[in-house]
Each structure stands twice: as C-alpha cells, then as structure tokens.
C-alpha cells in the first residue's frame, strides 16, 4: 500500500491492539517512514484517552429517589403489590 488513506481503516484497530500480527507489522513498517501517519496514530490514541479521562457525570441529587417512587407505583400497577 503506497497511499496512507488505505491504512486509515486499520489504524484505529491498530491503536486499539485489534489487528493480527501480520497487519501490525505492515502498519509499523509504514509508520517508520511516515511521520503523518505517526501523528494520526498518536492523536487517535489521545482522542480516546481524553474521553476516558473525563469526570463521570454523577446522578443528580434526588433522581434515584424519584425514580424509585415512580417504579414503585408502576410495579404496583403491574403486579398489584409492592413486594414479591
């Protein structure tokens, strides 16, 4: 493959460690001579890393209690009782 575009589909899988050994070797050979594809690999990797670094959105205060009250009502409608 002499066009970097042809590597694109495999670059993500490569970044995620999901390509087999022969494809991995082929990509690494290409990366050794292609600074732009090295940047692409680096930035694709960092894209996911940044997503995973984000603080997890907490449940708003009271939402769980409100949901439990709604579910209790729904459960009674469905099963005619609030406990098994």
């Amino acid at each position: 493959m002499d066009n970097c575009r042809e590597y694109l589909e495999n670059l993500c899988s490569y970044v995620d460690g999901e390509v087999d050994d022969s494809v991995c070797r082929e990509i690494e050979k290409h990366l050794a001579g292609c600074p732009d594809c090295r940047i692409m690999v680096d930035t694709l990797r960092k894209t996911v890393r940044l997503c995973r670094e984000g603080k997890e959105e907490p449940l708003p205060e009271g939402l769980k209690a409100r949901m439990e009250a709604i579910l209790e009502k729904k459960w009674k409608e469905k099963f005619g009782k609030d406990e098994g």
């Binding site: 694109l8 993500c12 940047i39 692409m40 996911v48 984000g54 959105e57 449940l59 469905k78 406990e83």
Partner: protein, 192 residues
Amino acid sequence: MNEKELVLAARGGDRDAFNELISNYTDRIYRLAWKLSGNQEDAEDIFQETFLKAVDNIDSFRLESSFGTWLYSIAMNVMRTCFAKRKRMQLGPIEDYMPDHANGANSKLLDWGDPHDLFENEQLREMIDSFLSKMSPENSTPFVLRYMEDMPVKDIAEVMDLSVPAVKSRILRARLALRENLTEKFREKKDG
C-alpha cells in the same frame, strides 16, 4: 440468586429481584443518556423512561441476551424517540477525515503534543461532551458505548441491532470526527 434466577423472580413480581438486576445499571444508563443528549433534563427523562419500560416489559424478557444488553436496548429505543426530532451533525465518509498527506504532499496534520498543556481537564471534557452531543447518535452512541462504557463491539452490535462491521465503521467515523474537531481547537489555541 444468579441473573437468570433474578429475572425469573422479577417476572413473577419480585421487586427486590428487579431492584438487584437494575442496581448495576442506574449510574451507567444515566451517564450514557447524559453523554448522548448533552443536557440533564433529557438525560433524566431518558433514565426514567428506560426503567419504566423495563418494568413494563420484564415479563416478555426471555433471557435470549444478558439483562444488561436487554436494558441497553430499551435505552437505545428511548433515546431514538427522544432524539428523533433533533437536527444532528451527520458525519461524512471515512475518507473525509484523512488529510491528503500521501505521496509527498505537505503535511496538514497537527502534532497535538500534550493537550493538557493547552487546556484544563474541565475544558477538554466540555469540548468532548459538546461535540458528542451534537453528533448524530448513530455514530456517537457506539463510540460512547465502546470507549466510555467499555462495551465489547459484539455487544454494541446486539444492543443497536447492527452488524459488527457496521458498528466498527460508525465508531471509526466518530473517532476520526472527534479527533478532527479537537485538532481544530488545539490549532486555534496554539495559533493564539
């Protein structure tokens, strides 16, 4: 009780069994709804509607998938309805996200360096959340499930009723689009 026993008990009206089944998913469903909707009001609506529908349909759940996969499928349907009227950013084909740097053309790619040198963590998070909430859910959903919820691709395919290659393609486009969006932000910042 194992999951199958819990499901059977819940189907018979055992609310404690149902509560135990959903206990591992409340935070995750809310987080997913928040990431994909981008606002608390929709996230709360999606969250409540998902669990109400789970109660409604628990007796028709036949254990053909895990409880989690079944619950995520319900959440997907709720979100599909919620987002149906919104205009979202449609992503182009994969080729659109690959700068033409082959065959000796001048590089258009920006070396990010360490993004934390450019923006605070909170700013980076807001950029990512904002972009994902504007993206078409057909792309943002599998991306968020894969990389923020660590769901295997085959499970995403089941939840979204898609083939594995289709899921991989959507994840790839979302990742490339987000990479490009972040690159623009970093370039603007570097150019000052």
